[in-house]
């Protein structure tokens, strides 16, 4: 019996795996820059998270009686774990990475039906749960000045902690929020390490921006969500920063500090959990930009992408409902 196929009989050769591989490749410059400035901790996180993630994915697929090879090779779990690990602090110990990955893969992804059915961005869900449960461990960022050697980082990863106070560091965004009566410039001149840190973050963000633009050029996603997010975050920063430049972090601070570019091109472009139409993606991205600014500036968390993304994930179905494109030939 001949198998009948429905039209079209041609296929463009685009594959989900290709999309996932492109995303992985595009994240590499960011990963390398992060390692350069903050040490090998991030690399340990990435490798460990992917290992744990693949094991979990295989386990769940086996439990759900799905073909292992077929689904593992879609690469989606690797992307999720990579993005999660990039977002975690470089000095995150192994158990923190494990818990975050576990929550991302088991709870945020598979309990909702696996790839394509999860309403929340798994990486951000894993990140947020750890930020709430283990706030101290989640805010341990090394200063670029306290660069660890490979062995030191390895020890740290396995929880043989050294002197925490010596290496923890308030992130620049955090420092700009807690000015304690100083202006931003006074704070920066008093803390050269923050300036140094900000330089490092600038380069990391630039690396992610480059990778993101490459993905955009390869049409892995459209410009709508990242464009709208960067624009709304920039506008918010411009509006408030222009009024009180001494008290509010500037336009460029917001775009090039924290996880801005990683989020703009790698996190919020997750198609499964974002609004689906191009118009919807504009609203989705803009909403994230505004929420990020609000939480960064007036909230108690140093960065805000996890919460902003999860909140907008929640709104995505509603956005979809009200952002249907006009029918072809419909009169305005």
């Amino acid at each position: 019996m001949m198998t009948l196929f429905s039209s079209p009989h041609l296929h463009g050769g685009n594959r989900s795996q290709r999309l996932m591989l492109l995303v992985l490749a595009a994240a590499m410059p960011g990963l390398l820059t992060q390692i350069y400035w903050f040490g090998y901790g991030t690399l340990f996180n990435v490798v460990w998270a992917i290992l744990v993630g693949l094991l979990l994915e295989a386990g769940v697929l086996a439990l759900r009686k799905r073909p292992l090879g077929f689904f593992l090779k879609d690469g989606s779990v690797i992307v999720t774990c990579l993005l999660l690990a990039l977002a975690l602090p470089p000095l995150a110990p192994w158990w923190l990475v494990t818990v975050a990955t576990l929550f991302a893969v088991l709870f945020a992804k598979h309990l909702y039906g696996g790839l394509g059915n999860n309403p929340f961005n798994p990486a951000m869900a894993g990140y947020a749960i750890c930020l709430i449960a283990f706030p101290a461990s989640m805010t341990v960022w090394t200063s670029p000045e306290h660069y660890f050697d490979l062995a030191g980082q390895w020890q740290w990863f396995w929880q043989e902690r050294g002197n925490i106070d010596a290496i923890t560091q308030a992130t620049p965004l955090d420092a700009m929020k807690h000015l304690q009566g100083k202006t931003i410039n006074e704070m920066l001149s008093a803390n050269p390490s923050v300036v140094h840190y900000a330089d490092a973050m600038f380069w990391v963000n630039t690396a992610y921006l480059a990778g993101g633009l490459a993905l955009l050029a390869l049409k892995v996603f459209t410009w709508h969500a990242p464009g709208a997010m960067l624009a709304s975050l920039g506008i918010m920063a411009g509006l408030f920063g222009a009024g009180e430049p001494d008290l509010y972090a500037s336009f460029s601070d917001h775009l090039f500090l924290g996880a801005t570019m990683l989020a703009a091109f790698f996190i919020i472009t997750d198609p499964v959990t974002s609004a689906t139409s191009r118009k919807g993606k504009l609203i989705f991205g803009a909403g994230i930009g505004i929420l990020v600014y609000v939480i960064r500036t007036w909230g108690s968390y140093p960065d805000a992408f996890a919460f902003a993304v999860l909140l907008m994930n929640l709104s995505a179905p509603l956005i979809d409902q009200y952002s249907k494109p006009k029918a072809y030939g419909q009169q305005p």
């Binding site: 009948l4 196929f5 594959r15 689904f71 696996g114 198609p271 249907k324 072809y328």
Partner: protein
Amino acid sequence: MRKLFDFPGGVHPAQNKQQSNPGKVLELPLPQRLLVPLSQHIGAPAKPVVKVGEQVQKGQLIAQATGFISASVHAPSSGTISAIDAFPVAHASGLEAMCIELQTDGQDTWHQDIGSADANTLDDQQIRQRMQAAGIAGMGGAGFPSSAKLATDKPIHTLLINGVECEPYITADDTLMQVHSADIIAGANLLLRLLDQAKCIIVIEDNKPQAITVMQQAALEHTDIEILVIPTKYPSGGEKQLIENVTGKQVPKGGIPADLGILCQNVATVKAINDAVYLGQPSIERIVTVTGNGVKQPGNYRIRIGTSVDYVLQQCQAETHANPVILGGPMMGFQLPNTQVPLVKTSNCLIVPDPQELPGKDTSMACIRCGQCEVACPAQLLPQQLYWLAKSDAFDKIEQYNLMDCIECGACAYVCPSQIPLVQHYRYAKGMVRQQAAETRQAEHAKLRFESREQRLLDEVNAKEERRKARAAAAAAAQAAKRAENPGAEDPVAAAKARLAEKKAAEASAPPKKAAEVQVPANHKDLKTAAAIVRTKLKKASKAFADAQAAGHDNTDKLQAMVTELEQRSEAAAKALADFESNMGLDPEAEKLAQVAWAKANAQVRKLTKAAPDESASDTEKSEHQTALTAAQATLDQAKAHLDSIKNPSQEAKS
């Protein structure tokens, strides 16, 4: 240089057009058997006008168009009609449809009526007639009857001739333009003549340089015909996409190109129009691209309508055992489940790909809503949402997402990274939506029918009531008139009242009598009534007594007495009735018989009255009927008199 617009979406699949060697028309030997479907177009199927065993000539009408949107069918060659029956036709499901089977005689002789004409001597009406008679249906694929398309009453300012041929592999139109450019231009001029005041644009994709050159040459002397080259992008040959590409305007939702003053025709259709008007030749052949790595002799073949796919593939030495056969292009064509089917007016391509060429799809993966389909969709839909809704059978909601605007071009499935057969899902959902709409229509229809029946019954009741009221009013009026005529007569109502008062006074003054004695019946009828009333009262009292006894009430002796009394009265009344009847010589049996006789006679009269011959009937008929009616009337009168006499013998005696 004309400014070009774009249309939303679209994809750029590999062209694969060169292997079918565009620009050269190959001929095939005439097949022995041709199978001509009656429905090769959109609209009503044609109706056969030949019989099995009949000899037909090439070009002879064998099935007549039925209705406005329909197209006639002609014998593609000379020979004998061997069957008119259902045969499998080219359809993805292997559907059967009515076809005329023709065994060719090899002579291929034209029918004597087929002849060329000088268009200059024909008037517009004659040109339209020749076009319509030729049974031309849109040869680009949709098969809309061309004469119906042309009969629009909307003003047309632009005639768009579609030589885009945007699907990969197909080169039939490309070849046609290279070989028959003069015919296309002549056909276009014919259409321009009919459309009056319109200009013509022939649109060709830039991947057909030879065709463009040839057509430009042919159109050189015609200032009102422009050859427009557009960039290659699938599906720019879709009617709506073509219009937007050229004019920047979208055909209104639910509308047709004529709403924008545009008429679209495919190049092959225009060529067929030329042949119909100038040569008198009906639509009995077309150019079909036969291609794919599974074909040893690919090319563009001129085939007769009704030629079997199998025959064509054999002649082209195609390897069909291991390979599928696709009718149409690789984007919108469908795989034939059976190659023993005829090619029709809309068949433009046969592809026999080898397994590497058009590999069957991998098992599809989960939709990750990446939105690549949305970017590719030329109908500006949200294919990813349509897919979810179709998969969850949310047919009400899917219509809000304009599923029915999907043109099934396949661009979404072409780009889908998860290899989901999206178009298949949409076809399924469209079928379900149509089915639901049909069911809703049926339910609505049934409801309307029920409501109108209720209304009709109500109207009947009302009309009856009206008639009754009218009769009553007429009677009252007659009564009043009578009184007016005879003012001395007493008012009957007042008189009745007076009588009643008198009676009451008499009753009051007279000593109370026994009921049986009081009710001295005046006549037979009253006696009967009295007896019945007493019987009923007795029945009721007996029942009340029995109930009271059963319930164990006290004072049942009173009821007992009443029953006894009523029993006596009933007996008395029955006796009085019997006495009266025997006195008067009444016989209830005879009365019944008389009643039946009367009813029969009455029925006879009514029947005859109803069956009265109308004006056109002959005098004899009329007089016969009159005699019968008179006789029946006499019988009825007699029966009536007899019945009356039995009922009321005293009256008879009196009169």
